[in-house]
Each structure stands twice: as structure tokens, then as C-alpha cells.
């Protein structure tokens, strides 16, 4: 299963991938450090799940989410953000994200996220 992890912070990607691997050790993981690279990787690799940060340089998560959903309206995008405002959550859900979860993601939270996705 292909999974795309998008965050400008190497630490955030590393931490999320470490937790993800505990639950999905065989997953093929792709990394992107901004929305623009993420959209290109999404087009080329068609991952089953995208973990997407919002606050990033070059192209932020909102714009990347719009583009990913326009490429595949059934894309499973999990927004992972430090921005925990209810309006931010409403905005990303309206754009088509499956869910929005606050950073950082621990093992229990990851388990819950994966259980709510369709594989």
C-alpha cells in the first residue's frame, strides 16, 4: 500500500512515518516537503492515503488538498496540523479531507485514523 506523507518539517515526517510503520510495516511511503511536490507525487504514485500538513512554504496544504481532490475526488486525505481551529477543520472537510487530526500523532491516534480509512 502506498502512503504519501507531506510536511515541510523533516521531524514531523519522521515522527509520523515511525508511528505509521508500527501499524503498517509493509507500507510503501513517499515523502513531500511542500504541497507542490505532494501534488506531483500524488499524480505519479496514486497513494491510497495522504497525510497532509497545512502550513507549508511554496504551496500550503489547503491548495494541495484542492488539487489532489480535483485529480481524484475519492482520495483519502488526512490533514495533520498544528492549526486546531474549528474553522480550519470545517474548511478542510469541505474541501474533501477525510478527517483532520492535531499534531503530534501518537500510536493510539494513528490506530484510530487507520481504522476509519478504507483499504
Amino acid at each position: 500500500m502506498k502512503i504519501l506523507v507531506v510536511d515541510d518539517s523533516k521531524l514531523a515526517r519522521l515522527s509520523l512515518i515511525k508511528t505509521l510503520k508500527e501499524h503498517e510495516p509493509s507500507a510503501e511511503i513517499f515523502e513531500a516537503e511542500n504541497g507542490l511536490i505532494a501534488v506531483e507525487l500524488f499524480k505519479n504514485e496514486n497513494p491510497r492515503v495522504v497525510f497532509l500538513d497545512l502550513t507549508m512554504p511554496v504551496m500550503d496544504g489547503y491548495e494541495a488538498l484542492k488539487l489532489i481532490m480535483s485529480i481524484d475526488p475519492k482520495a483519502q486525505v488526512v490533514v495533520v496540523s498544528a492549526d486546531i481551529q474549528t474553522q480550519a477543520q470545517a474548511q478542510v472537510l469541505a474541501l474533501g479531507a477525510k478527517m483532520m487530526v492535531p499534531k503530534p500523532i501518537n500510536s493510539d491516534k494513528m490506530s484510530d485514523i487507520l481504522n476509519r480509512l478504507v483499504f
Binding site: S15, I84, Q85
Partner: protein
């Protein structure tokens, strides 16, 4: 490796932890103002006083009046939290919090700015230190109105030799309220901060 023994990994960790902390703070302030705010990507810089001077001059236009609130925090990681808000933003904040149409009194504006800073500093510093597995104690904040970038001339700031500047910005566009946040820590604290980040990195790579 950059100055003061901080590697790119250290800076990345600090930036990400600040991102989480500022996200929490933006949400708290959004609740207070009952609105939606935008958070900016935190900037981290290790500098001497000349660098701080240049940084502040670049970040804060000198022609405007500002309210500057300073709050010291202490513990294994200690330093100074600065919140800088321009006069118009502070007036808008006062109007919004006191629900009045005309300009609030100076005292009310001071109270509003202090309240905002308390929430910001408590949320940001507490969250940052929680992520670094340590604790801090907060001291009483003080607010004053100053002109432009004269904050760099404040006596206590001149005590810094080598400083780490963590800065970010939050904007509540509908209410026309925005402010800049600076966290300054110096000399010995930079080494302690590096040690705390090293622990965090060890946990991550374990």
C-alpha cells in the same frame, strides 16, 4: 552545522515544536475572539545583538506606535517572551473584547493586550516545554507603548550576548488584529535548549 552547535536537525525540531505550540495558541485566541486566525511558519535565528537589531528593524516598521508586552519565564529552559502589536490592532482588540464601538481607554487596551499575551505565552511556552519534557515558571508580564523598533533599545534586552530568536505572526483578518511574537533566550540557555532537543532526537531515532 550552524552557529552555537545547532544542526539543521535541531532547527527543524525547534521549528516544528513551535509550529505545534503556535497552532495551539492561535486556536486559544480564536476561541477568545470567536473568530478564525491565520498562523505563520515560525522563523528561527541564532544571532548576536547586531543581528537582533537588524531583525527587529526588518520585522517592525519604525514609524508606527506599538504595544510591547514582555514576560520572563524560568526553568531549565528560560528566557523572555515578547508580544508586539501595533496601536491600531491593539485598539481593535480592545473594541472586540470589550464589545464597544468607540476607542477603549488606554487602561482597557493595556488589559486586553496583557490578557492576549498571557494566553499566548502560557500556551506557546507551556506547549513547547511540554514537548521538550521540561517545565517553566512564568513571571508577571508588563506592557508599554513605544515607537517603532525602539524595543531593541530596552535596557534588559541589551543584556543578551548570543540569542536565539524564535518569531512568528498571527493574524485575525476580519477583526484587523495581528501581532508578532518573539521568544528570546541567551547564552547558557541555548546550550540547555540544544540538550533538550538532543533528547527529543534520541527518542525519535530510537
Amino acid at each position: 552545522m550552524v552557529e552555537s552547535g545547532f544542526s539543521e536537525d535541531h532547527l527543524d525540531v525547534l521549528k516544528e515544536l513551535m509550529n505545534i505550540a503556535v497552532g495551539n495558541a492561535t486556536a486559544s485566541i480564536a476561541d477568545l475572539l470567536q473568530t478564525f486566525g491565520t498562523m505563520h511558519i515560525p522563523q528561527i535565528m541564532i544571532s548576536d545583538m547586531v543581528g537582533l537589531d537588524a531583525y527587529i528593524k526588518n520585522a517592525i516598521p519604525e514609524e508606527k506606535q506599538y504595544y510591547i508586552t514582555k514576560q520572563l519565564f524560568g526553568g531549565i529552559f528560560s528566557g523572555e517572551f515578547l508580544f508586539v502589536i501595533c496601536e491600531n490592532s491593539a485598539i481593535n482588540l480592545g473594541r472586540h473584547l470589550y464589545d464597544v464601538n468607540q476607542n477603549p481607554t488606554d487602561e482597557d487596551i493595556h488589559d486586553a493586550v496583557i490578557e492576549l499575551t498571557n494566553i499566548l505565552s502560557a500556551t506557546i511556552i507551556s506547549r513547547l516545554t511540554e514537548e521538550l519534557n521540561t517545565k517553566v515558571q512564568f513571571f508577571v508580564p508588563s506592557t508599554e507603548r513605544i515607537v517603532g523598533n525602539s524595543i531593541i533599545g530596552q535596557d534588559e534586552l541589551l543584556n543578551y550576548h548570543k540569542i536565539i530568536i524564535i518569531s512568528t505572526e498571527m493574524v485575525f483578518e476580519d477583526q484587523q488584529i495581528g501581532g508578532k511574537i518573539f521568544i528570546l533566550t541567551k547564552d547558557e540557555m541555548i546550550k540547555k535548549l540544544k540538550a533538550l532537543i538532543d533528547q527529543k532526537l534520541e527518542e525519535l531515532y530510537a
